[in-house]
Symmetry: C2
Subunit: 341 residues, 2 copies
Amino acid sequence: MRIAIDAMGGDNAPEEICLGAVKAAQDYPNLSLILYGQADQIKPYLAGQDLANLSVVDCQEVIATGDEPVRAIRKKKDASLVRAARDVKQGHAQALISAGNTGALLAAGLLIVGRMKGVDRPGLMASLPSIQDLDKNWLLIDAGANADSKAQHLHQYAIMATIYADQVLGLSQARVGLLNNGAEASKGSKLTQAAHQLLAQEDQINFIGNVEARDLLNGVADIVVADGFTGNAVLKTIEGTAGSVMKLLKSTIMNSGLSAKMAGAMLKKPLKEMLQHVDHDQAGGAILFGCQAPVIKCHGTANRQTIYQALLQTQDMLAKDISQSMALALAASLQAAKEEE
Amino acid sequence: MRIAIDAMGGDNAPEEICLGAVKAAQDYPNLSLILYGQADQIKPYLAGQDLANLSVVDCQEVIATGDEPVRAIRKKKDASLVRAARDVKQGHAQALISAGNTGALLAAGLLIVGRMKGVDRPGLMASLPSIQDLDKNWLLIDAGANADSKAQHLHQYAIMATIYADQVLGLSQARVGLLNNGAEASKGSKLTQAAHQLLAQEDQINFIGNVEARDLLNGVADIVVADGFTGNAVLKTIEGTAGSVMKLLKSTIMNSGLSAKMAGAMLKKPLKEMLQHVDHDQAGGAILFGCQAPVIKCHGTANRQTIYQALLQTQDMLAKDISQSMALALAASLQAAKEEE
């Protein structure tokens, strides 16, 4: 079981990426990790460690945050991300992790690792907090891998996310909701109306119908299926609004006289704890589903702890062979649709 | 200048609707208002008033919140909303206001009042707070009148919202942003890419390019143009997230011991003031642009003050004849496009 890690992606690369990998390699001797990146920059963080299950693949190029994704993937043949993705494609590793340029990682997943059979367009799954129950997350797919989606893509996302929830999160019968502009089945765009039909007919998922954006943080569904454009807008709106309200709260406290300031000081600790729950960085990486191997996107601000968690999460997915389960479920769904006809 | 008011729409109808109208009629003798609804229910709130500029049109049917919009509009011919819309269509009134069923109001605007020349699909404009500057709102259009949009619809929204910002809000050169999943012009869905081109070529607006959902509450643009499906999702996500964070804040305070509770009590007043700023009810009604007359949607929870404000806002729009300005600007845009060819 080998995981390919882009050591050069993310705000804190390569240091935090390497230190997270080192800890995972130490704690889990059965795990095999490969760090891709500029060896002279990586080696200092491995100094003194002699880990048989952690190797380095030296590559000179780096894809920057601002690089145009598809172009970067095509031109920078020796980039850490490209080399890592190619090794996954060739079977030298079984999963790909990066905290770098999201678009480039998605492009690497689609164009280098390649699509899984039965999947038209891989979709990005993000994990978000539920305010109702802070220990429970809900899943949003597609959170932005695609700008234009079709109904059958949403259908495929629902199946893949259900497998993930069942096998990795231990959540059987995960409630699947379709993000729509109204609760009734007749509501929505042409796309969501068509997707609603497909989801309602799918035996392998627990479809609860349409859900509205207003209710997402209340945990109205375990899995929320959306087209990538809307999913991305909703994800960014949640981040932006939560951040804005907290900023406003701070400035309100600071500008409301001495007693408010004192009150603010008294609330510092509980507020900090609350923020940690809301912070979706803590919930682990986003995952691109539908490629021939799991492709994991860690947040750009990922630190060693985030990377460590993502590696454990990936190890778990590989141990349970969820790619295989997804492929089987997608094939079963296609088969059932054919028999309908 | 006459405004047709659906007295039966909204959670607090007819009482609060009538009382808001009475106050506006008292304060502005030049304003002429018509209340549509069940006269026996309306009359008690007008008792003792003898206002020459406030009349009642008795109609027996009412469209309920749960009614299927288009069907209700077609079947309930004597509903307050339908009668009011018909009178606007026939020129007996110049604007339509309701706090009732949103879908029904949109349908009444489109199917009864009718489209303005040069507009393919009317769009709903919501006014939202900017956290950066609480006294300044930004406009979102289309906030959900349509589930499927085309690029030229977004183009028309940008023109109409610019006229509104200029003439009603006194904001010349309002910054128009296109809601998209990335800042670069090349980003986005087929729809947003096409809309970007149209907006960039339009001389009558101040187009600042793409804006991302994450930055909306920071006031990144004065006018945010979106397709109705995404606009609706973003609007509801903002509402849902702001509400969830405040709920979480409350429960955090209540569950964090005595000092946190005391701190919470000390913060009650500033927090309440803050919430009033964020509460988009305070920002006035949403407006459906692109009909032959302004159609104003007040929030379902509208009280007399909200209705009063909406009436003043509508009076202002009528005094400035923004429908005429919009029609001229749309015609000029079409002309310019023809000359291009």
